[in-house]
Amino acid sequence: MNHILACVLTLLFSLSGPAMGKNSDFCRSSIAADGAVRAESSLSGQLLRQDLLRQEAASAFTESGELSQGALAGSREVIPAAQLGNPNIPAGFSKWSTRSFQSPSGNFQVHFYRNPTTGEVFNGLDYKVNFNSAPAPLWPGPK
C-alpha cells in the first residue's frame, strides 16, 4: 500500500510537468520522489506506532477479556474493602487499579475488585477501563 502511495504521488507530480522544460520535469520528479519517500516513511512510522500501541493495550487482557497475569502483578490497591460500602461487592474485596497501559486512544488503567488475602478477582461489577485523560475526538468538530 505504501508503494502504491509513493507511485501515485510520483505520477501526480510527473503529470503536471509537461508545461515546463525538461530540466524542470527532472527537478519536479526528483522532488516528488523525495516527498513520496518521506510520506511513505512517515506513514510506516505511524502504522508501526499504532500497531505497538495496540499490542501494549492488548497485553493487559487475556483472550477471554480478563486481566492478564502481567496486569494483575503490576496492580495496586486504591480503595480498601472497608471504604467501599457497597453490599453488591463480596466481603473482603477491595478496589484495585492496573498500571497505565498505552493504546491508540490514549493511556488507560483498568479498575477491578480483588481479594487481597486470596488474590481472587471479582469481575462481576465495575470491571472497567478508565482513560487517564479524555481520548482525542475522532473529528475535531466545526471551527
Binding site: R76, V78, P80, Q83, G85, K95, Q109, H111, T117
Partner: protein, 114 residues
C-alpha cells in the same frame, strides 16, 4: 513557618513505574488493616493515581503529621489517618469514578512536596 508534612523516600525497586526508587513523596494518608499492615496513600507517578503502598517500602524523611488529619476507625477495625474530607463515606468510590466534586475535594486537601 511551613506546615507539618510527612515525607517518605521510596526504597524498593519498582518495575511497574508506580514510584521511582530513591524519590521523595508526600504522604497523603495512612491506612492500617490486619491483613496488610500499615500503608501510605501516595500520589503515584503513574497518572497521579493516589494508591496504597506498604510502609516497609519507604524510609521516613520527615515524620511530621499534618495538624489537619483526623483518625477514623472502620466497623471492621481498620484504622486511618487522613484529611477529614476524604473520610466521608463513599469519597474514594466517587473519586475513582471521576466525580468532578470528589476530584476537587481531593486537590484541595492533597499535599505536594515543599
Amino acid at each position: 513557618m511551613a506546615r507539618p508534612q510527612m515525607i517518605v523516600q521510596y526504597t524498593k525497586q519498582d518495575d511497574q513505574n508506580w514510584l521511582r526508587t530513591g524519590s521523595n513523596y508526600a504522604v497523603q494518608a495512612i491506612y492500617f488493616d490486619q491483613q496488610q499492615g500499615a500503608r501510605y496513600r501516595i500520589i503515584s507517578d503513574d497518572a497521579g493515581t493516589p494508591a496504597l503502598f506498604p510502609v516497609i517500602d519507604f524510609t521516613i524523611v520527615d515524620g511530621s503529621l499534618p495538624a489537619s488529619w483526623c483518625a477514623h476507625v472502620h466497623a471492621n477495625g481498620d484504622f486511618e489517618l487522613s484529611p477529614p474530607a476524604w473520610l466521608e463515606q463513599g469519597f474514594w468510590v466517587r473519586f475513582f469514578d471521576n466525580d468532578a466534586d470528589a476530584k476537587r475535594v481531593f486537590e484541595l486537601n492533597a499535599s505536594s512536596l515543599r
